[in-house]
Amino acid sequence: MKTKARSHIPLHGIEKCPTGIRGLDEITEGGLPRGRPTLVCGSAGSGKTLLASEFLVRGAREFKEPGVLMAFEESENELADNVASLGFDMRALEREKKLIIDHVHVERSEIEETGEYDLEGLFVRLGSAIDEIGAKRVVLDSLEALFSGLPNEGILRAELRRLFRWLKDKGVTAIITGEQGEKQLTRHGLEEYVSDCVIFLDHRVTNQVATRLLRIVKYRGARHGTNEYPTLIDETGLSVLPISSAGLTYPVSTKRISSGIPALDEMLGGKGYFVGTSVLISGPPGSGKTSLAAAFADRVARDGGRVLYWSSEESSDQLMRNMRSIGIDLDRHRKSGALVFHSVRPTLYGLENHLVALHKLVVDLKPTALVMDPITNLDAVGSSAQIKSMLTRVIDFTKNLKITGVFTSLGAAEDENRLEQGVSSLMDTWLGLRVIEADGVRKREFYVLKSRGMAHSNDLREMTMGEHGIALRSPYAGARATGERLTRAASTARGRITTNSRGSRS
């Protein structure tokens, strides 16, 4: 037996076994309890088998820990096919003797019970597989099939208790999966036998949009996050988003980053945004929000940075074509890799999953700047409060990485009860756009509502867009004199717009 090397568990806390699953090792502060069984439970389709398989595949590939998968529900081929779509080549690992898949098939109709028995056959199978490749990891997926397969529950329960003790003696780190029960965590109360670590996977559908969540129900002897963490299953496997709310501890920078428009930089104390802050651009349809965001993206890319452009409205091709018309060439940045588009329909999945997807991209790309255009489309999959909560996490996360974020929002900044009212407090800089009609022409009006930590202009500017880019001109030359007069000018302007926009809507 190979238990010797494993038996010296350090006295100071539990030794951890890294899963290699993105995010999971962070929230468990290192992985699953080494040498002990962990129960992974959840409803059908919540990703239990996937999590368990990924634990084995990554163990074999990344941590040189061979594994044994005892599959009670799916055959070897079914399993290998299911995870192949996630880039896990189980058959190759089997050939390399890093993985053994044993499909245990128990069919009640084929079994006649004629006296006393035990499940030594199962122990023998598992034991010989473990010894054959020197396995350090074991997955039992799902033991509950035994409850329907074997007639005597009393014997089964006694044997399960013995099995979990035996697994610990073997020193393997094990994942046992179990289907969610009505009144308990698992249908057959497997949690009774696994006391070290329990992970619950949830798969909720609200407004026809599915959200996956992971929660550590229990982790004996170790600190762990207790929140529900959004998770995502994509072509690289499972990802858990380790952040929920990072708290207000991010680094603060005094460095500046250009907005991409010289006149706007000038309005912001002559230097642009602070690096690592968040910028909200509000305005009605067609007021130029995307253009402002694109100008910023272009500037960052030209200055050698990298931009992640999250678009929930336009495809990257459409966006690039439109921006070309105002002299902003995003295509070359995309080709050079300085600009990465992530165009996604908000209704594709739930808010939490958007968050995970975004988190993953940010971690992979390490961008200088993030553009989300527009955030308001997320209202298709969440309430204002939920969107605010999501954006809080995005901003906490990006600020920690000193990523400057530009968020566009559809709607006039003055409207009450709109999303802006909720998220504006998260934003360091808030830029407003509106469309006014004067002298028979529609004009775009631009202003800075706030910009924390810097002297900024209170001017109302007229924004024009042409082949040579975006310009901010001052149509109210007379109002530039004193602050008092400026405020008055601004409020009359505001009054005028309200009337106009109402008029145009009727």
Partner: protein, 108 residues
């Protein structure tokens, strides 16, 4: 399938003149293993006049064989012949159930 073929189905009692090929899986020389072997011999001698063969497989010595016949519980008696394959788990103390399991007695 042609109509009225002689294909055996389900749990119909098998006619007596058959060759019996049985395999008994045990784990180690335990009291339960010995009891199962003794019970099996007795049943064979009483009910299988046409002849039978018993192969006893000790999984402790041959662990790799457990996968082939999908053995989970021990002892498990596998009827290889006559077909179809049947599995009977336990120490074979309940003779009635064993006979039902081997299709030597109709299911109620």
């Amino acid at each position: 399938m042609t109509q009225g073929s002689s294909a055996r189905k389900g749990s119909k009692p098998v006619p007596a003149p058959e060759r019996w090929d049985l395999r008994l899986y045990i784990a180690g020389e335990s009291a339960r293993s010995r009891l199962a072997i003794a019970n099996l011999k007795k049943i064979c001698e009483t009910h299988m006049h046409a002849g039978y063969s018993i192969e006893v497989i000790d999984l402790v010595k041959n662990p790799a064989l457990a996968r082939g016949d999908q053995i989970v519980a021990v002892p498990t008696l596998v009827r290889k012949l006559p077909e179809p394959m049947r599995k009977i788990i336990g120490d074979l103390s309940n003779e009635d159930r064993v006979l039902v399991g081997l299709d030597l007695r109709p299911r109620k």
